[in-house]
Amino acid sequence: MGSRASTLLREEEIEEIKKETGFSHSQITRLYSRFTSLDKGENGTLSREDFQRIPELAINPLGDRIINAFFPEGEDQVNFRGFMRTLAHFRPIEDNEKNKNPPATEPLNSRANKLLFAFRLYDLDRDDKISRDELLQVLRMMVGVNISDEQLGSIADRTIQEADTNGDNCISFQEFMKVLEKVDVEQKMSIRFLH
């Protein structure tokens, strides 16, 4: 009766997730409660349908791409660890983190990792390059039927022209980072918790 399973999340798991993602104890239990409420099948994992049930996500033009970011290559279910790992990209970068000893591995919410998340939204086939075709497809998702193919094509061409430095007509992650080096990524790709 009323299984809000914060009892199912063990302390050791919470500690591990804390170390890996940097979320606080209360944030993790709160997000776990959210995870279980989305998990309609009550089997400890989320499927793509579970995400699509969120109306505000379903009306987001890039909703499907964002949902895809949660699922590793070829898999259809994501468990709580995977869920938290992806959400961790949007944790704000705190100032005191820069003063402490830098962690062994790059934190999930570093500037580079936030940009990588955005890059992967464009990179449909996960080959670490954004081709003209992929850019067109993503643009089409964002504008719907309101812009003609030719106009969209010229927008894509211009974007690649400006970003591409090695002449392969694709945008690599390095080129992507260069184009966006002045953008305030830390603020725009961060979600602030109220507690």
């Binding site: 969120i54 996500l57 039927v145 790709m189 602030r192 109220l194």
Partner: protein, 457 residues
């Protein structure tokens, strides 16, 4: 052996007989007779105050227990968990572009790769916390009310608390539940029996008068069957004949709550089984609007029958729940415009349940009706407030949808609920594509708009 049993048998029978008589007399005197006359002894309010004191104590004990063990308590947040800025698509994308380039906005390019940040962030925000899906599950409580179904910190309970909980369980299932079931049974059978009887009378003032009294009496018994403690506000605005009463929907109990304070004509689909029997006998005493299943799909037919009923001033006001489904009483969702199109005066009513005593929300996708009633009758009590709002009519130049939204906003404001534009039907169905297309159109304007400016300069 026989000699041994006989005196015992007799004694047992006598004891049972006495306790039954006492039981029924108490029932009659304290519950049914006041229900018939519409008076109250105030027993339920006293009960409510005592319960509140016990709950506060229980919550403090849990908090203390958790602190002693140095563990984190699961704290339910009734408000949002993340900060969402209410900036529009245009504003935010312009901000992102501005921070990324040195050029000023007029000569900015149409598309920037950073535009995707907006959609990504909004998407992940809605994954962490959205406005809609949480309306279809029971509200979380801040203090524990001795029901396991609403407790997440169960492991921090001391011995005293456990004893209290067992006592509570005993009282609820051993005493309150049978009492309530008896009352419910009495109420419903009286309703069916008496309304059928009244149906035999010829139409006229006597029939209407009796029908009113019978309906009120039976609903009051049902109210006591749920131990519902209701506070009515602004009764001078009670719905009158020829009007439509509109309220937010949390559970089927809403009907009983409203109908025990006034007479309404119900609207709904004819069901089979017990529900059907009740519906058919009710309509003998006074005209309700029941539809066959096939008729429900025909919007014109429904609208015509409703407007015919409303135009006859001798008929009772119609009771309608425009959300169309049960919402968890933290928000009011989209009102279906059908009842606002008829042109009658609308009497809005706001119903707000106090979740500390028992959760009245019916999660129809999770629990069936019988399961739900069992939950209801084994909770402590149902405490709610009803506000009658002043009547509203459609204004000049206002269409049905705008009128419906205006009424909805008034109800949400009075009841302290969140006013949402989302459709309650999203509980079961997918959202329409038109909303996504709106977003795409907005974004496209940003890309194409700049091109037009460019060609001008």
């Amino acid at each position: 052996m026989e000699l041994f049993f006989n005196p015992f048998d007799n004694l047992l029978c006598i004891l049972l007989g006495i306790s039954f008589t006492v039981w029924f007399t108490l029932l009659l005197v304290f519950i049914i007779v006041p229900a018939i006359f519409g008076v109250s002894f105030g027993i339920r309010r006293l009960y409510m105050k005592t319960l509140l004191k016990i709950f506060e104590w229980a919550t403090l004990r849990i908090e203390r227990g958790a602190k002693e063990k140095n563990h984190h308590l699961y704290k339910p947040y009734s408000n949002a968990i993340i900060a969402k800025e209410p900036t529009s698509l245009e504003e935010e994308i312009k901000e992102i572009r501005r921070s990324g380039s040195n050029k000023d906005l007029d000569s900015a390019t149409e598309f920037e790769m950073s535009d995707i940040f907006y959609f990504a962030r909004r998407g992940v925000e809605s994954i962490m916390d959205d406005e809609v899906t949480k309306r279809f599950t029971a509200e979380e409580l801040e203090s524990w009310n001795l029901l396991t179904r609403s407790n997440n910190n169960f492991q921090y309970i001391s011995l005293r608390l456990t004893v209290l909980w067992w006592l509570g369980l005993l009282i609820r299932y051993g005493f309150l539940l049978p009492l309530r079931v008896t009352l419910a049974f009495t109420g419903v059978s009286l309703l069916v029996f008496l309304t059928s009887l009244i149906g035999l009378l010829p139409n006229g003032r006597l029939k209407n008068f009796l029908s009113e009294k019978v309906h009120l009496m039976c609903y009051r018994i049902c109210v006591r069957a749920l131990t519902a403690i209701i506070t009515y506000h602004d009764s001078e605005n009670k719905p009158k004949n020829g009007g439509i009463c509109v309220a937010n929907h949390t559970s089927p109990i809403d009907v009983i709550i409203l109908a025990s304070d006034g007479c309404y004509a119900m609207v709904g689909q004819i069901h089979g089984g017990l529900m059907g029997v009740i519906q058919r006998s009710m309509v003998k005493a006074c005209p309700h609007v029941w539809f066959e299943r096939s008729e429900v799909k025909d919007r014109h037919l429904v609208a015509k029958r409703l407007s015919d009923h409303v135009q006859d001033k001798s008929k009772l006001p119609i009771l309608i729940f425009p959300e169309g489904t049960c919402i968890n009483n933290t928000s009011v969702m989209m009102f279906k415009k059908g009842s606002f199109d008829i042109g009658a005066t609308v009497y809005p009513v706001a119903i707000k349940y106090d979740p500390r005593f028992g959760d009245a929300f019916w999660n129809s996708s999770k629990f069936g009706m019988v399961n739900y009633l069992l939950h209801m009758m084994s909770s402590w009590a149902i405490v709610c407030s009803v506000w009658y709002l002043p009547p509203m009519s459609r204004e000049e130049g206002e269409d049905a949808v705008q009128f419906a939204n205006r009424v909805k906003a008034a109800i949400a404001r009075k009841g302290g609920l969140v006013d949402l534009l989302w459709d309650g039907g999203l509980k079961r169905e997918k959202v329409k594509d038109t909303f996504k297309e709106e977003q795409q159109k907005l974004y496209s304007k940003m890309l194409v708009g700049t091109q037009e400016d460019r060609s001008r300069s």
